[in-house]
Assembly symmetry: C2
Homo-oligomer: 429 residues x 2
């Protein structure tokens, strides 16, 4: 570049793309001042030119084929906002780097799947990849790990990374509603998409978690090795009993190294009602990072939404323009650690049993737990007024998941136990 | 530099200096890997070579005069950990930049007083200044504003920036102790220094606040224009009545722009018990940043201590070594805004009166408040068993500080009012 321009090719003008263009238009003086460059939207490309949008895209050059943007001499960075782990997004990422364009993206699926190799491919390149928007929307946690906390060995990451799930669980907690009722409400209020499977089943959280794990531990992301359990099996009774016992339920993401193995998991968890994560309500995200010298650092903010996400995209654009290359040597600390299987988890458990209202059931259950080395912290038996079944809630002391599974398998075959017992892990924080 | 070394001259081997050297020694492989350089402690300088320390400094070159480090060809960065707004620290800062050395510091007094001009002086330099450790210890909030949130216009910063004060107020809240008792405890536990005036009176918080304000608004720091009130006048009764009315008391720092004026203040504040800051207990720090597109982003962590502070110092060293220059065009957005006087604050107030136990006192007080346009949200009268005086606590609706002052001046001259009424501002968050 001989001039002082920093020219963008923006691919994908959906919700986040529209907000990004709007933000750049509104704040162009500030953006130029902060970057020391003239930031220019040189051309845009999207599936559908004539789709109804909140911005006038006709003033920008339109490129039908996004691949053509990548080879243009007059473009310095590709801003990819289409999504998807493969297909066009992946192609654009690699061809951007090959063609010496910075690559800026909000695409968590892409970075979760190919981020490790993409980070490798920029090691000797003059350009970089930027994906602050891919994890936790507006929260500058990628920046935090890569820069502010870089001196630390990260000991543990705990996080609430999906606003949809957190909204639903908060609503169930505050209003006593069922999972289905809260999901419908979340959709009505725009906190959940019409097809919310990715969010509800924990996949979205897992994408973000493995990106953080890649940065923190040099762990090559592998979603198949991460234990992922969503929130659709959490009932309003679980929420109620958890509360009564001093806990709230969160979809909790954990990435830590234990005995030289990567312990990465996403699952509903009981968290003490007095712990910080209990205060993270509604659609918020939160990340708790335990560094060896920093100790615990907490980041909280909006993890989704057009403008919070565009906030991170435009920050990345400014950082790319001022040539602030966020290379990531971090990830090549990789000690080729193996992933730990969830079956080896050692911890406490909440187990909910639905049983016939007959004598001796509790005795049978506790006997089996005892035979499987599981000692109990508390037991709560609740008769279900007018119904012929009771709830029994058990909180265990620390034990291992294999023993818990064995016990549950035996207990569920008891005649008096009506459905498969439901287990939720308790996490200390 | 033709070689791949990045050599440090460390000045000041006190608590933070010792932790910084220890961290660099322990983590040298990681630090080198992360920075892509060989980080070398080339020489150190401190007031006293033979002082008893937890590290063996005899293996490093000793330089009696720190100024000599700055002119050495074989040093790339000066790490200043001596403190003080002027004197050696200031000299070192300017001479480092003049001699093309990066300047890394944990010195909030220096940056609060000279940071603006120092930021100016690096604009065309090949080196930069780094001061992540100067604000909120381990919390990467400087990095957050300069990078992750750079796309935003910051609308408001609210913060708890002094661990000593927060420890004392938390202890008073949890244990019902007096300010003096909690201060003694804080000293015994190492949360307060033997002379804690700077902390207690809000000066330390104000230093950090004006640094954040400089970054966020381009506001040239001027401590004389910032309203600063410490916590020594907060009584255990204030804490008790505030709690009873649904509030906790925090030493709250605020930096915002209101009607084109800089509203920067540090003072004890009533915060709703259900708001996030109420959960920030003990020696923690927290910063709440309201960006126009990010919305509110919260950072929480340890704001002091040897290793949390060294965490930020070493992160800055790594970032300087990988030539990740954190220049700050931000501050030159400066619109030469004037500071707002606290007398123009509009908000709610808590006022504590100590009055004689006679009839009609409350009527007199409320009449004066009413005459000064102050309407009341709630009134609490508490008789002090066995004593001849009562407490009257008033929470006002929104009003302006001038009216409140006028009313208080009239009320304090009533014969039935025993001491000057005590006012604490209520902050909505």
């Amino acid at each position: 570049m001989t001039n002082n321009n920093f020219s963008l090719g923006i691919v994908g003008i959906g919700t986040v793309g529209t907000a990004t263009v709007k933000l750049l238009e509104k704040e162009i003086d500030n953006v130029n001042h902060k970057s020391g460059k003239n930031i220019i939207i040189k051309a845009i490309s999207s599936k559908n030119f004539s789709k109804c949008r909140d911005i006038d895209i006709s003033k920008y050059e339109w490129e039908e084929d996004p691949e053509k943007l990548v080879v243009r001499e007059d473009i310095d960075a590709i801003v990819e906002l289409i999504g998807g782990s493969d297909g066009i997004a992946k192609k654009l990422a690699y061809s951007s780097i090959k063609n010496k364009k910075h690559f800026i993206t909000a695409n968590k699926a892409l970075i979760a799947k190919h981020g490790y190799d993409l980070n490798k491919s920029i090691l000797d390149a003059d350009v970089s990849i930027y994906y602050e928007a891919a994890v936790a929307g507006a929260i500058p946690v990628i920046n935090g790990i890569k820069n502010g906390l870089i001196s630390n060995n990260i000991l543990k990451i705990e996080a609430i990374l999906n606003g949809t799930c957190n909204y639903i669980l908060s609503d169930m907690t505050n209003n006593g509603s069922s999972f289905k009722e809260s999901l419908i409400k979340a959709k009505e209020l725009g906190f959940a998409e019409s097809d919310s499977t990715f969010d509800i089943e924990g996949i979205d959280s897992a994408h973000k978690l493995v990106i953080l794990g890649m940065l923190a531990y040099g762990a090559k992301p592998d979603l198949n090795k991460v234990y992922i359990e969503g929130i659709s099996s959490v009932s309003s009774e679980d929420i109620k009993y958890a509360n009564r016992l001093g806990f709230i339920i969160k979809l909790f993401c954990i990435a830590k190294i234990e005995n030289n193995k990567l312990d990465f998991r996403v699952h509903p968890s009981l968290i003490s009602s007095t712990a910080m994560p209990a205060t993270i309500n509604g659609a918020l995200n939160a990340i708790f990072i335990q560094g060896d010298s920093s100790n615990k650092i907490t980041f909280i903010g909006e993890g989704a939404g057009a403008y919070p996400t565009a906030s991170s995209v435009v920050s990345d654009i400014i950082n790319a323009a001022r040539n602030h290359k966020l290379k990531n040597n971090l990830i090549f600390l990789n000690k080729k650690l193996k992933y730990k299987d969830i079956i080896n988890r050692i911890g406490k458990y909440y187990i909910r049993f639905i049983v016939q209202d007959v004598a001796g059931v509790l005795a049978n259950i506790t006997a089996i737990l005892n035979n499987n080395n599981i000692s109990l912290d508390s037991v709560l038996q609740d008769s279900n007024k007018g119904e012929e079944f009771n709830y029994i809630i058990v909180l265990t002391h620390e034990t291992n998941e294999l023993d818990v599974n064995n016990a549950i398998n035996k207990i569920k075959s008891l005649d008096t136990v009506l459905i498969k017992p439901h287990l939720i892990r308790i996490e200390n924080i």
